[in-house]
């Protein structure tokens, strides 16, 4: 299997941080990809499975948190593009 992997760093931009709603926007999108998706809170060191909303919540990442997104798998490039857009777009929040 093609195991391409990509990694990219972001700063959480939406004012309320990663709470239940943004986490679920992310998880719903992530679930559409075959690749493994991991998100790390670079400030605390905690990592989360990008396909589990509870795991994402454990990141406890308010606005301004530095996070790293790592995707690995056959559709990693597409996953990185979609998920980057979501994070950069403030998780579709105001």
């Amino acid at each position: 299997m093609d195991q391409t992997s990509f990694s990219k760093d972001f700063v959480v931009g939406n004012p309320l941080g990663i709470h239940a709603r943004p986490a679920s926007v992310f998880v719903q999108a992530a679930a559409g990809f075959e690749s493994d998706i991991a998100v790390t809170n670079l400030d605390s060191g905690n990592s989360a499975d990008g396909k589990s909303v509870m795991s994402m919540l454990m990141l406890a990442a308010p606005q301004g948190t530095h996070i790293r997104l790592v995707v690995a798998g056959p559709d990693a490039a597409a996953a990185m593009e979609t998920l980057s857009d979501i994070i950069e777009g403030g998780f579709d929040e105001e």
Binding site: P15, L16, G17, S52, M54, L57, A60, G89
Partner: protein, 615 residues
């Protein structure tokens, strides 16, 4: 970081008398901005505050033989919770926007989360704990992680997880009093929060909420608007109050003066008791006048209509004595649905409404949504940087011609069942109206050739809510049968203020002389062309504005049904002469605030009783 209520040991209230304070706490007064008039006395629920049970959990041991039945019990509770959320989601779809409805997706994802499921089941199996203690110990870990940050916003949103956890727990134990969820509050609750999202407010248990106070917001934010439509007192813009209250605190919310009183003294309670009964009395008195004409002291008749969103509001319409429906919004028919409702479905809804109104006028507005709000259109939807200035409402007639055609067919057909008027929102130029009238004509030709009965005389009107439309009102008036001024958007577009943006909301001033002048221009043009003009925004529901609007020549107002009694009361005490004077001053004022002071003084003078319930 503020001192959050989660650090206090108070239990949640299960009723008005359940709070037990070890020491008598003193009366404390907090000030904010009055957002919705009224006074209430109740028990505090701090939204987002910790449920004590989540902090002190003892594992409850089970026998190895009970493991499988406990696992099964947990899974059944999850299934039940899922069904509940889906039902709630369905119910809410009508009242909230797509973006806000996402919270239910989040709730569902939490219930379906594999990690959560795995952790709870493995705790039951390996540590031999029963289902609820395993669940609580697991969920506690998540809540602690979020509460461990120093971020107030994130703390509060932990309320979402508590909400869903309480729901699961309730289904696990069958105990109704496990913990409150927003749609299942204890009796006599006053909700105190940093903020309430539109989905939070839509979910609020309307039987048991008495009022609320929030840290954010302004008089025009969605929470305030909702509070006024529910007729419950609300105070907004209260800095750092959430941490000053504990669940179960006794509290008075004074929505007239914008005050919240914690642990009111005996004297305060007596004072408010008297005040509340006076106001109730007055409101009931005003309601009794609902069959009387809304006529000024010098004989000018004003037509008062109701704004509604669905047939379920009709009882209220009749009770308040509205003479018609001035604005029926059709947005909810098109939201959160994978396919647009077909002609027959729409026809049935419109026809039923018209028949229920027995010949009284009904103004139905064609769908006023952005392309992004239409699920079935979303494949082509583009994320717009400025949705309020983007592709929405009638502007969709090029990209989605079928949307407006189907709605027009259904409306014209329903026209035979009553006095129907069709209103087009977001008109900014003459060519748009010409185009829409062409479409209307084509649709009528179609119906004719198909031998389908319809009313060719259904009146067509333009919603005037964009300054350009006011400035070309003469040209528009020559083409349409009526105008309806949508003041909320008119203020927003004229002053370039997003009223939901807290940082600039103070600039949202309906009494701004520029807004007054645009209304005057519109009314004058309508008069020259002998077409009626109605005002259907928030200012139509604000009795302080009533005389000014009359003075500008507006003789038709449409508003939330429960505002009609007060507006009628003010009209019956005011003269057109005084109103015209007030309008003149408003048009020439240099400061919008001066106008409001004057308008209040006027009401104070002619209708002191009504002034007292406006606060």
């Amino acid at each position: 970081m503020i001192d959050t209520a989660s650090s206090t040991p108070d239990p949640l209230p299960s009723g008005p008398s359940s709070a037990v304070h070890p020491v008598e706490r003193k009366e404390v007064l907090f000030h904010g901005f009055p957002a919705s008039p009224g006074i209430c006395r109740g028990r505090v629920l701090v939204f987002g505050a910790a449920h004590t049970d989540f902090n002190e959990i003892d594992p409850i041991p089970i026998e190895p033989s009970e493991v499988e039945s406990e696992v099964k019990r947990f899974q059944t509770a999850l299934e039940k919770t899922k069904t509940e959320i889906k039902a709630l989601q369905n119910r809410m779809q009508k009242t909230i926007e797509k973006r806000d409805a996402k919270i239910f997706d989040a709730h569902l994802l939490i219930v379906e989360d594999k990690l959560l499921h795995k952790e709870v089941v493995s705790r039951i199996r390996s540590q031999l704990c029963n289902a609820q203690s395993s669940f609580l110990l697991t969920i506690q870990k998540y809540i602690n992680a979020i509460s461990g940050t120093n971020d107030t916003y994130l703390h509060e949103r932990a309320g979402d997880i508590r909400d869903i956890a309480n729901r699961i727990l309730r289904n696990l134990t069958g105990d109704k009093d496990v913990g409150p969820t927003l749609d299942n509050l204890p009796e006599n609750t006053v909700v105190i929060a940093h903020d309430l999202t539109p989905s939070d407010t839509a979910m609020l248990d309307r039987r048991n909420i008495l009022g609320f106070a929030i840290e954010t917001g302004s008089r025009t934010c969605h929470t305030s608007i909702l509070a006024r439509s529910l007729r419950i007192p609300a105070v907004v813009g209260m800095r750092n109050i959430a941490g000053k209250f504990a669940n179960g605190d006794e509290v008075i919310v004074d929505g007239f003066l914008g005050m919240v009183i914690r642990n009111p003294s005996k004297e305060t309670l007596a004072f408010y008791k008297e005040k509340i009964s006076r106001k109730d009395e007055l409101y009931n008195l005003l309601l009794k006048e609902s069959s009387r004409a809304a006529e000024t002291t010098d004989g000018y008749r004003v037509k008062l209509c109701a704004n509604i969103e669905g047939a379920e509001d009709l009882d209220q319409v009749f009770q308040c004595g509205a003479e018609g429906i001035g604005l029926f919004r059709t947005e909810y028919l098109f939201m959160n649905t994978p396919v647009a409702p077909d002609e027959e479905t729409q026809f049935q809804i419109y026809s039923k409404l018209l028949r229920a109104m027995h010949g009284r006028s009904v103004t139905i507005r064609t769908v006023d949504l952005g392309g992004d709000k239409l699920d079935f259109a979303s494949a082509s939807a583009i994320r717009e940087p400025n949705p309020f200035l983007g592709l929405r409402a009638i502007r969709l007639c090029h990209e989605k011609p079928q949307l407006i055609r189907t709605q027009l067919r259904a409306l014209l057909r329903a026209g035979v069942d009553g006095d129907l008027r069709i209103m087009f929102p977001m008109v900014s130029s003459l060519s748009e109206i010409e185009e829409l009238l062409d479409i209307r004509n084509e649709v009528m030709d179609e119906l004719r050739s198909e031998n389908i009965p319809f009313d060719p005389k259904v009146k067509i009107g333009a919603m005037i809510e964009i300054p350009s439309a006011c400035l070309i009102a003469d040209a528009l008036a020559a083409k349409v049968d009526f105008f309806s001024i949508g003041s909320n958007d008119l203020v927003q577009y004229t002053l370039a203020v997003d009223r939901l943006n807290e940082r600039v909301a103070y600039l949202y001033r309906p009494s701004h002389p520029a807004v007054m002048e645009l209304i005057r221009l519109t009314v004058q043009a309508a008069k020259r062309h002998r077409i009626p003009v109605c005002v259907c925004g928030e200012i139509a529901a604000d009795p302080r504005f009533t005389p000014i609007l009359l003075g500008l020549g507006v003789l038709e107002l449409s508003m939330s049904p429960n505002a009609i009694a007060e507006v009628r009361g003010v009209i019956r005490k005011t003269s057109m002469l005084a109103s015209e004077n007030l309008a003149k001053i408003a048009l020439a004022a240099s400061d919008p605030e001066d106008v409001m002071v004057l308008a209040k003084e006027h009401i104070q003078a002619v209708a002191p009783d009504i002034a007292s319930i406006l606060g």
